[in-house]
C-alpha cells in the first residue's frame, strides 16, 4: 500500500473500501474474449491487480470505454462500467466525473478510438483537466475491424486498406497530449507489469486528467510492433526510462544520455563521457513548462521506436475542472442562497388577475 501523493485531495472524496480487497474482487463474471496472446490480457491483469492498492470502494469506481478491442475492458472489471460508442468515452466520462466527484472515473480507449474518431474529445478533456484517468492502449493498428492502419501506424504501413502503404504521418500520443495542455502524461508497455503498475499508481494519484499511453501488442494484426522495446537484447538500447529526479541515461551500463543542445535548445542523445556527464539532463516531470517533456517525447524514432522514453513525462498540478465547477456551485449558493423555485418562476415583473 503506497501513500497517495494526492495533494489536491481528490481521491479523498471517493469512499474507501470497508474490507481489504484482492485482485479477485475486481474480476467480473464475464468471460474475457480477446484473442489469445493479446496484450490486453496483461493490462487487464495489471489493472485488476493494482486496484486493491487504491483501497477505494469498488462501487465508486467506474470504467468508461469507447469502441475497439480495448474498449471491451469495462465488461471484465467488477466495478460500474459503460462500453459506449466510438471515440466518445472522454465526453461521457466528463459528464460523470464532473457531476459525481465521489467517483474514481477511468477511461479505456485505443489509438483509433482516442486519436482518430475521438481526437476532439481527448484533447478537450486534457485541456480542461477533468479528473479522469485515461488508459490509451496503443497497438498502432485497427484490430476490431481486422487490420487497417491507425493514426499511430508508421508511415508507409502496408495494411488491408493501404496495400501500397499508408500515406499519413502518425501521431505521437505523448506529444499530442502535451500540446493539449495535459497535466499528467505517461507511457508504459503492456509486458512490463512492474512499470505499468507504477505508472498506474502515479496516474491514480494525480488530481486532474492523467493520460497513460500503453504500448500494447496486437498479435493478430500487428504482431511484434513493440519488440524493439521488449526484446532483451535490443530493449536496453531502445528504451529510455524516465524517473523524476534522475539523470536520463540508458543503454548498456547507462552509456548513453540525453543532453540539451546548447545551440538549439533541443534534446539529443550522446555517448556519456566524463566530460559531458554533468550535462546529462535530470528528469523533472513537475516543471511548469511542458517544453522539455515535449522534447523528450520527440526523441523516439516513429518507425523503429529507438530511443523511446517510458515513464511519467509530465505530472504537474493545475486547477481541476470538476473542482472549479463544484466551487462555482458553492459560490453561487453562498451568494444568492439555495435556489428558490417560486422566486425564480415569479421573476421581477408580475401582475395579478383577481377573479
Amino acid at each position: 500500500m503506497t501513500e497517495a501523493t494526492d495533494t489536491a485531495g481528490l481521491l479523498s472524496l471517493v469512499p474507501r473500501a470497508e474490507a481489504r480487497q484482492s485482485m479477485k474482487d475486481f474480476k467480473s463474471d464475464q468471460e474475457v474474449r480477446w484473442c489469445p496472446g493479446c496484450g490486453d490480457y496483461a493490462v487487464l491483469a495489471a489493472v485488476q491487480g493494482f486496484m486493491p492498492e487504491l483501497g477505494l470502494a469498488r462501487e465508486n469506481i467506474v470504467f468508461v470505454s469507447g469502441i475497439g478491442c480495448s474498449s471491451r475492458f469495462p465488461y471484465y472489471m467488477n466495478t460500474y462500467g459503460m462500453h459506449s460508442i466510438h471515440g466518445r468515452a472522454p465526453a461521457i466520462a466528463t459528464g460523470l466525473a464532473t457531476s459525481r466527484r465521489d467517483l474514481s472515473v477511468w477511461v479505456v480507449t485505443g489509438d483509433g478510438d482516442a486519436l482518430s474518431i475521438g481526437g476532439n474529445h481527448l484533447i478537450h478533456a486534457l485541456r480542461r483537466n477533468v479528473n479522469l484517468k485515461i488508459l490509451l492502449f496503443n497497438n498502432r493498428i485497427y484490430g476490431l475491424t481486422k487490420g487497417q492502419y491507425s493514426p499511430t501506424s508508421e508511415l508507409g504501413k502496408i495494411t488491408k486498406s493501404t496495400p501500397m502503404g499508408s500515406l499519413d504521418a502518425p501521431f505521437n500520443p505523448v506529444s499530442l497530449a502535451l500540446g493539449a495542455e495535459a497535466s499528467f502524461v505517461a507511457r508504459t508497455v503492456d509486458s512490463d507489469r512492474k512499470h505499468l503498475t507504477e505508472v498506474l499508481r502515479a496516474a491514480a494519484d494525480h488530481p486532474g486528467t492523467a493520460l497513460v499511453e500503453i504500448y500494447q501488442n496486437c498479435n493478430i494484426f500487428n504482431d511484434g510492433a513493440f519488440d524493439a522495446l521488449k526484446d532483451k537484447d535490443r530493449a536496453e538500447e531502445a528504451v529510455i526510462r524516465l524517473e523524476h529526479g534522475q539523470p536520463i541515461r540508458f543503454g548498456a551500463g547507462g552509456r548513453k544520455g540525453v543532453v540539451r543542445d546548447p545551440a538549439t535548445g533541443d534534446l539529443e542523445v550522446v555517448e556519456v563521457t566524463a566530460e559531458n556527464e554533468a550535462r546529462v539532463l535530470v528528469h523533472d516531470a513537475r516543471t511548469a513548462s511542458p517544453t522539455t517533456a515535449f522534447a523528450l517525447s520527440r526523441l523516439a524514432d516513429p518507425d523503429t521506436l529507438h530511443q523511446t522514453p517510458i515513464g511519467v513525462f509530465r505530472s504537474v498540478e493545475r486547477p481541476v475542472y470538476d473542482t472549479l465547477m463544484a466551487e462555482q456551485l458553492e459560490t453561487a449558493a453562498a451568494a444568492k442562497g439555495e435556489g428558490d423555485l417560486a422566486a425564480l418562476l415569479a421573476g421581477n415583473d408580475t401582475w395579478t388577475v383577481v377573479g
Binding site: I85, A346, V353
Partner: protein, 652 residues
Amino acid sequence: MTSQVSSPAEQADGAGGAEPAVVGEQRTPPGPGGGGKEVRRLDRVIIRFAGDSGDGMQLTGDRFTSETAAFGNDLSTLPNFPAEIRAPAGTLPGVSSFQLHFADHDILTPGDAPNVLVAMNPAALKANIADVPRGAEIIINTDEFTKRPMAKVGYETSPLEDGSLGAYNIHPVPLTTLTVEALKDFGLSRKEAERSKNMFALGLLSWMYHRPTEGTEDFLRRKFAKKPDIAEANVAAFRAGWNFGETTEDFAVSYEVAPATRAFPTGTYRNISGNLALSYGLIAAGRQAGLPLYLGSYPITPASDILHELSRHKNFGVRTFQAEDEIAGIGAALGAAFGGALGVTTTSGPGVALKSETIGLAVSLELPLLIVDIQRGGPSTGLPTKTEQADLLQAMYGRNGEAPVPIVAPRTPADCFAAALDAARIALTYRTPVFLLSDGYLANGSEPWRIPDQEELPDLRVAFADGPNHTLGDGTEVFWPYKRDPGTLARPWAVPGTPGLEHRIGGIEKQDGTGNISYDPANHDLMVRTRQAKVDGIEVPDLEVDDPDGARTLVIGWGSTYGPITAAVRRLRYSGLPVAQAHLRHLNPFPGNLGEVLRRYDTVVVPEMNLGQLATLLRARYLVDARSYTQVNGMPFKAEQLAKVLEEAIND
C-alpha cells in the same frame, strides 16, 4: 383616418366561444392622460418595429412587450432578425424587426399584419411595406431617407414624396435629429447620441398606447448601471419621444387598449419567452425529481439562450457544461445521467444530426435523457434564426437501427414550461431519451404566463435501485440491470456508488434481464420489440378535440402552429363554418384515441411548417387521407391564410 379598427372577423381571433366580438372602436372623451388630445379605445393592436440589425429593434420590442405585460394586456410577440450579428448597414438582409400583438382579450398569434409600422430607415420600410395593410399607420424616421440609404435599397425617388405611400397614414418624424437634439446637454458624441433613437421611438409609441413607463426607465438604469450618463441619456431620449407624441400636432390621437382582465384566469402572471419557460421547466423538473440538473450543450442558434439561462442558476445545483462539440454535449449529459443526474442536452437540427449516435446509445442503455431541439430552417445550416418544424421525422426516425424515442412538443411559448416537465416525466419514468421539439418561433416569442404554484407541479421523484432484484435458481440474490418493471417496462436505474449493484452496460445488444452482451438472434428480436413496446406503452393523455358544432372537417397540428391554427378556427366559427380542432403534444407515442378521432371526420387537414411530416406519419399509421398544408418560409402561418385553406377544405 386610421386603420386601427378591428373588423369583426379579426376580432374573432380573440373572442372565446360564440360570444360576439365586443368592441371595435370606442371614442372616449379626452382625459388627463391624453394631454388634451383625443383618446380612442381599441380592443387589439399589432405593432411592428423595424430597423437595421444594429438599431436595437429587439430591445425596443422587448421593452414595449414588458410595458404591455405590466399593463395587463394579453400579448404575443414575433421577433424576426437576420443570422448575421451586424449585417451590412442599411441593406434589406440587415433588417431586424419585432412584431407585437396586444389586446384586451385573449389572443393566440403575433398577428398577421401590423396596424402600425415603425420604419427606422429605407431598408426597414422596403422590407416590411408588403405586410402593411392600406390605411395602417407608418412612423418613418425621415433622417435616414437621404439619397444613399434610399439608393442602397433601390428607391429611385423618395417614397415620402413620390406618392407611393398615399394609401397609408404616414407620420414622418426626424427621429435621429430629435434624439440628438434632446441629448445635446449630455456631452455625448453625435454617434453616441444617435444610438438612443430607438428609445425615442419607444417613448413615442409608449405615449401613443398609454404604456406605463416606469419599468423601462428602471430597466435602462439597471442595464447601464456602470455607465450612468448613458443610462440617463437613454431615459431622456425615451421621455423626449413620449413628450414629442404629446405635444406635436401630427399625433392627434392616442389609443387605449384595456387590460385583458376577462381573458385570464385568476392568478399571478408574468411575460415569458419560450426558451426562458423551457429553461425554468428544466430547473423545475430537476427540483420535482429531486435530481441535480446537468446540461451538456454546444452553442447553436436558436437554442443557446437555454444554455445561457441555466448557467445563471448554479445556486439550484444546476451544472452547465459547454462542450467542445454537439456530440460531447450529449455525451456529458448521458454520462451524468448514468451517475444519477437529470441529463439534458439543448440544440437545434444540425446538432441533433451530430448527436444521433449518442441518442441511439441512450436508447440502448435505457437511461433518462432530455434532448431539446429548438428547430430552425434546414437542411444543413439552413436559416438559423428562422422557424421551421422540419425535424419531426429526424426525431422520430433519425437513428440507425430500431431506436424509438418519445417526442413531446410545446404549443406556445409559455407551454414550454409544462412540456419540459412532461418530457422529464417520461424520461424518468420509462428510463429513455426523450425529444422536446420546440422551434425558433416559440423560443423567441413571448406571452403572458400564469405562474404555477409549486403544488401544481408534477411529482417526478424516482427511486434508484438499492439492492438485488432477482433470485437465481440456486437461491442467490443478484442484481439484473435489464430486469424490467412489468408495468412500464423500465429497467432499474442503479447509480455508481451503490454497493453490490456494480454492473456494466453498453451499446452492444444485451441479454434480456442480465444485460450481459448477447448476440443471440432470438434475444435481439425480443429486445428490439421490447424497447419499442416500452415506448409504445408510455402513458399519454387522450387527444382532446374541440368541436362545439359537430363539424365534418378536422384540423390537426402539433407544436407552434397552435396559435395560428386556433386563430383561424375562431374566424371560421365566427363566420358560421363548423370546424373541429385538435393539437398534438405527444408525437411518439401518439395518444391512444388518435386513430379513432381521425376516422370520425370526413376531412382531416394538417398544417405544418415542413413538407408534411406529421401528415406522412398519420397517413402511414392510420390509413387516413390526411390533407397536408405546408409552409417553409421561415415564418409562422398567418391566421387569415389558414382560415382560407380550412374554408376551402370545408366547402370541398
